[in-house]
């Protein structure tokens, strides 16, 4: 590269500008490409993850048998029975349990924080929910294992590692997601909605539940679905407290297993000499598909705006 002349006036002005321009244009374009590549990396990453897992999973599922893989409720390595029936049911039940615990409490708290909370209390509650969201899941698992498991053992008998314990711990874990997103969406509803309802003679509660909630429904639903996503994908905590037994639980006191915890507890052991490792990767693929469906629903919900 030629050095830029110090005295620009002595050099032909046009030539100088042109030179600077070409250099700048090259730089601009190359950086633009770099930025675009960074953005494209996201697409590449998602596609790689999806394709990798699915390509790995499909032959395995084919070998096990599609129907057998989905419906068999036992996961036995020595007898090479790899059925995710009990895993799917366990995931569904624990998610429902978490929602039963977390959604009512979460929505009520969000309502309180959005409409009732005095300012000083809000300054305490808001950071608390943020902290709740930030606590690592393994801490929740450890807390559940040492505190809630003995309680649940006394309450319903058995080993204490069961659906009840998991529902409570997961319920607490999804609280912050539900609280913060539904509070935000409740606050986003235009104030006149509320004022109008009150002016028409509705009580505060009626105004909130009949006017504000319907107006914020997509946000609230997003909150619940995201909470659901967190409950489905949660691993470290659940592995410690669900009991990891490949059976369909008959009651709240029964141990069970979820898709994620099966991967976590089994992957370490997965031997290459049989189908277990590929089968666990297939389980991960199933988990991925479920989460992808949930993400799609969330994205569709977000489009709806008033």
């Amino acid at each position: 590269m030629q050095l830029k002349p110090k005295n620009t006036e002595s050099a032909p002005a046009d030539e100088g500008i042109e030179k600077v321009n070409t250099r700048a244009v090259v730089k601009e374009i190359s950086m633009k490409v770099l930025f675009a590549v960074a953005a494209a990396l996201f697409v590449v990453a998602v596609l790689t993850i999806c394709i990798y897992l699915l390509v790995d999973a499909i032959p395995t599922i084919g070998e096990i048998g599609f129907v057998k893989f989905l419906t068999d409720d036992r996961w036995l390595i020595r007898s090479e029975r790899f059925g995710i029936g009990s895993l799917v049911v366990g995931t569904a039940l624990s998610t429902i349990g978490a929602l039963v615990v977390g959604v009512p409490i979460g929505l009520m708290t969000a309502t309180f924080m959005a409409f009732y909370c005095p300012k000083w209390l809000y300054r305490v509650l808001k950071p608390l929910t943020n902290i709740l969201a930030g606590i690592p899941s393994i801490v929740y698992g450890f807390f559940g294992l040492t505190v809630i498991v003995p309680l649940s053992r006394d309450l319903v008998g058995g080993g204490g590692l069961n659906l009840l314990t998991t529902s409570i711990v997961l319920g607490i874990m999804i609280l912050p997601t539900i609280i913060s997103i539904s509070e935000n969406s409740l606050r986003a509803v235009p104030k006149p909605f509320y004022e109008g309802a009150v002016a028409l003679g509705a009580t505060k509660e009626r105004a909130i539940f009949r006017t504000m909630f319907p107006a914020a429904s997509s946000g609230v639903l997003t909150a619940i679905i995201l909470g659901m996503g967190r409950a489905i994908g949660e691993t470290a905590a659940i592995t410690l407290i669900c009991g990891n037994i490949d059976q369909i639980p008959g009651s709240l006191a029964d141990p069970f297993i979820t898709l994620a915890s099966a991967i976590a507890s089994g992957m370490g052991y997965a031997s290459t000499t049989n189908l277990e490792r590929p089968a666990l990767i297939a389980v991960a693929a199933v988990l991925l598909i479920i989460i992808l469906l949930i993400t799609t629903v969330v994205m569709l919900l977000k489009k709806k705006k008033y």
Binding site: R78, V100, V156, N162, V220, I245, D246, P255, A270
Partner: protein, 292 residues
């Protein structure tokens, strides 16, 4: 929308309560703790008792480490479980099986029936390049290592082991990894610590869990320097890599453990097999009465 959510929520709640009410199925009062499918300890236990995996009473939990089973049994009065003898501490009670107490002697002379080997696997061809691995393997075969093995409550299988001599020069490799069985892990951690202090250089052996299955596959694929397994490893079927050598580190009994509040001190192999196959069994069915 609110109504729909409310309706779903209340139905779910009703179902949940219904579930809880119906609960308490026909299972007995024995809280059976298992290791998860694929654990070397579980494999060995089932094999020694002659239980088919599909018939196994999965019980209240399948836990993924030795210490998890011990902790579970320690906290649950009606519990029974099994764990590596060397790991069993005073928080639980180890039962005699058919009148034979689980000790190093009974495991060594074969009178305690439920025992299995601890096996290590490493790539023979790596020894030439990896001087730390070679040194560590030499240490494992030495008298010092056998002493630690005995101290930790395992059964040494090497007789007249030579004393270990620290290497003269500086080792070129400073870190190797051992992965696999969580039963072998605690012993390896202690051995690794002792080894590092004997060598007197800044070297380390990193011990990771994962389980026997992973130990075997890691050794097979060369993911780690040493694979650990708490069950018999068969050359040719488990290990398909020709370069991998299997070395038996020691022998270990599988202790049958119960809560310290449990009055039982002895269990027959038959009863043990019954407990681990029959879900509806109560402690009273095998003659154990809790004082309540």
């Amino acid at each position: 929308m609110k109504k729909i959510i409310m309706a779903i929520a209340s139905t779910v709640l009703a179902c949940g309560i219904g579930f809880a009410a119906v609960g308490c199925s026909d299972s007995g009062d024995i809280s059976v703790y298992n290791r998860e499918s694929g654990s070397g300890t579980r494999d060995a236990f089932l094999e020694l008792l002659g239980i088919e995996e599909a018939d196994l009473n999965t019980g209240v939990a399948q836990l993924s480490s030795t210490s998890a089973v011990i902790q579970g049994v320690a906290g649950d009065e009606k519990a029974i479980g099994y764990a590596s003898l060397g790991s069993v501490d005073q928080t639980v009670k180890a039962l005699s099986v058919d009148g034979v107490a689980p000790t190093e002697e009974t495991v060594a002379d074969g009178s305690y029936k439920i025992a299995r080997p601890f096996e290590l696997m490493y790539d023979e061809t790596e020894l030439a390049d990896n001087d730390l691995l070679a040194e560590f393997v030499e240490y494992l075969k030495s008298a010092e290592a056998q002493e630690i093995i005995a101290e930790e409550g395992y059964v040494s299988v090497v007789e007249n082991a030579p004393a270990y001599t620290a290497p003269e020069g500086t080792l070129s490799v400073t870190e190797i990894t051992a992965t696999g069985s969580t039963s072998v892990g605690p012993l390896m951690t202690v051995l690794a610590d002792d080894f590092a202090s004997l060598v007197g250089q800044d070297v380390q052996v990193t011990v990771s869990g994962g389980g026997s299955g992973q130990g075997i596959s890691d050794a097979n694929e060369g993911n780690s320097d040493i694979g650990m397994a708490s069950k018999e490893v068969v050359d040719g079927t488990d290990i398909t890599n020709d370069n991998v050598t299997i070395y038996q580190l020691c022998a270990d009994g599988i202790a049958v453990i119960v809560n310290t509040a449990n009055p039982a001190t002895d269990i027959t192999l038959d009863n043990l097999k019954k407990i681990y196959t029959d879900k509806s069994l109560n402690w009273s069915d095998i003659g154990v009465e809790f004082s309540e």
